[in-house]
């Protein structure tokens, strides 16, 4: 047991470039994500937010450094050990990653069918509840290819929330949704978090609105992270790249909605 849900220690991650060079995504990054709180990871497109989530899940390997989930190292974990680590997570992928040969209902029911001993009736009821919360009632029998982008996101969200995970990783949960839906989803996050008390990690471009949820903000920029306890601390920061980030994303409300 650790006081942190997730801990990064001197993590380096780079990709080989076509021309033989190295593209460094994370450059000796260290930060922690507290338990039971909401952490927002912000940063420009291509700064490594999605990669950071994949590192946490052990879907990608770090070049060096350590990542701990509840005090247990993800680096080097394999097989059953890794599977055990992953049972703690609910994940919404940036592209939703729905199973395209399964219907909406089957997608959301899958974790329940595979990982719990619930009866078909219980599964049916539980899925119906979450689908209605996400305004997907009536679309149960559709296949992912028959859904809009925003609907796919919501189905992915429904699936991620199924097993009451201790840690939720949301990669851009509201991208492609209209403002009303976005508000509803955030309200749902708050409600479920109050009920379940999970640790949430939200990657989002929906700045500054998503900051309302944040207990902590991690800004990723050029391979480095800066951690802030509140939006206020972020705005008061004198670090040049943070000042620039704040100006770009929060300075002008109109711009923030277009850019992000």
């Amino acid at each position: 047991m650790s006081e942190f849900a997730i801990e990064f220690k001197d993590v380096v991650k780079s990709f080989a470039k076509q021309d033989g060079g190295q593209q460094i995504i994370l450059d000796r990054v260290s930060f922690t994500i507290p338990k039971g709180k909401t952490t927002v990871i912000a940063g420009g497109s291509g700064q490594g937010k999605s990669v950071t989530l994949k590192l946490i899940l052990g879907l990608m390997a770090v070049d060096s450094g350590q990542i701990f989930v509840d005090g247990i190292s993800v680096v080097g974990a394999r097989g059953r050990e890794l599977e055990q680590l992953r049972t703690q997570f609910g994940v919404l992928f940036q592209g939703a990653a729905l199973f395209d040969s399964l219907t909406v209902f089957e997608n959301v029911a899958l974790p329940l069918r595979e990982r719990t001993r619930k009866s078909e009736q219980e599964i049916h009821d539980q899925v119906a509840v979450i689908l209605s919360q996400l305004e997907l009632t009536g679309h149960e029998e559709k296949f992912p290819a028959q859904l809009s982008g925003g609907m796919r996101k919501r189905v992915g969200l429904a699936r991620a929330l199924q097993l009451n995970p201790q840690i939720m990783l949301f990669d851009e949960p509201t991208t492609g949704l209209d403002p009303v839906m976005t508000q509803d989803i955030y309200a749902l996050f708050v409600k479920i978090q109050q009920e379940v008390g999970y640790t949430a990690v939200i990657v989002s471009h929906d700045i500054p609105r998503v900051f309302d949820l944040a207990d902590q903000i991690v800004v990723l920029n050029n391979g480095k992270t800066a951690v802030f306890e509140s939006v206020k601390a972020l705005q008061e920061s004198r670090l040049p790249h943070i000042v620039e980030f704040v100006e770009k994303t929060m300075g002008n409300p109109c711009q923030s909605r277009v850019g992000g």
């Binding site: 592209g95 199973f99 899958l110 990982r115």
Partner: protein
């Protein structure tokens, strides 16, 4: 930048070793997945239907034409020595020991293997396999092992179908078209085909089934790791081509090896 040819050769050699290691480990995990609970009966049946029932028509047509050609060709050759009576023996031995297992495996690679490869490749590039892993659902148990099991059951059955249809095709061409004595066709077959020959055919069909399903699903599963495959839809199409070509070549190579060792 011009690279030293030796360096290139070493690089290619290392890649081949790495690829073989990866595929070896993959095979191990696929077998382990067969024994992990809960077993996915429905998926296994679906795959049996897809690989087995779905390939029956193709196998039937290939076998009928192969058998008939063998009948005509065999008659033509044997007639020169006045040995038409040997036709039944020649056709059935060729089919049971060689053509049945080989052609069935190659047809299955083209029809079902390519589809399995593309399916896994698409699931990989659209992060569906990652999503399975994140739900702590073993992709081997869930996706891959049922395919292995279904191939190992259905390919030998398809081979048997091929043999029977082929022998009947040979009978049709030899007896009905060329006028070989029906009794001598059947008797030639009965007296020359031994248990050993049939066993060789069965062993071959199991080995070929394994090669086809292993190479085809493996190429799709590892679509990111395959050198020169590129990205996106193109990478899936490239590895699918590779899967069919490699598994067909592997079948032909192992056909020779098994014949040499077991005959």
């Amino acid at each position: 930048m011009l690279r030293n040819p030796v360096e290139k050769l070493g690089d290619a050699g290392l890649y081949v070793l790495q690829d073989m290691g990866r595929m070896g480990l993959y095979l191990l995990l696929a077998f382990k997945g067969v024994f992990r609970r809960p077993f996915r009966m429905a998926e296994f049946m679906r795959q049996m239907h897809f690989i087995g029932v779905g390939s029956m028509m193709v196998i039937f047509c290939t076998a009928a034409s192969t058998g008939m050609v063998l009948g005509l060709q065999g008659y033509y050759s044997l007639h020169k020595f006045g040995a038409e009576g040997m036709l039944g023996s020649a056709v059935s031995l060729t089919l049971i020991m060689e053509l049945g297992p080989v052609l069935t495996a190659i047809m299955v690679a083209g029809r079902a293997g390519s589809a399995m490869c593309a399916e896994l490749g698409i699931m990989r590039i659209s992060e569906q396999i990652d999503a399975l892993e994140c739900m702590a659902i073993d992709p081997f148990r869930y996706l891959i092992s049922p395919k292995f099991l279904a191939a190992l059951v259905s390919v030998p059955l398809l081979t048997a179908l091929f043999d029977v249809v082929g022998i009947a095709g040979g009978y049709l061409a030899g007896v009905h078209l060329m006028g070989v004595n029906p009794g001598s066709y059947l008797e030639g077959m009965r007296s020359s085909v031994t248990n050993h020959d049939i066993r060789l055919g069965v062993i071959k069909s199991f080995v070929f089934a394994l090669l086809v399903v292993w190479i085809c699903t493996g190429r799709g599963y590892f679509v990111y790791q395959i050198r020169g495959a590129g990205f996106g839809a193109q990478s899936v199409s490239r590895v699918t081509t590779q899967a069919v070509v490699y598994s067909s070549i592997a079948v032909l190579i192992f056909d020779y090896l098994l014949t040499a060792v077991l005959l």
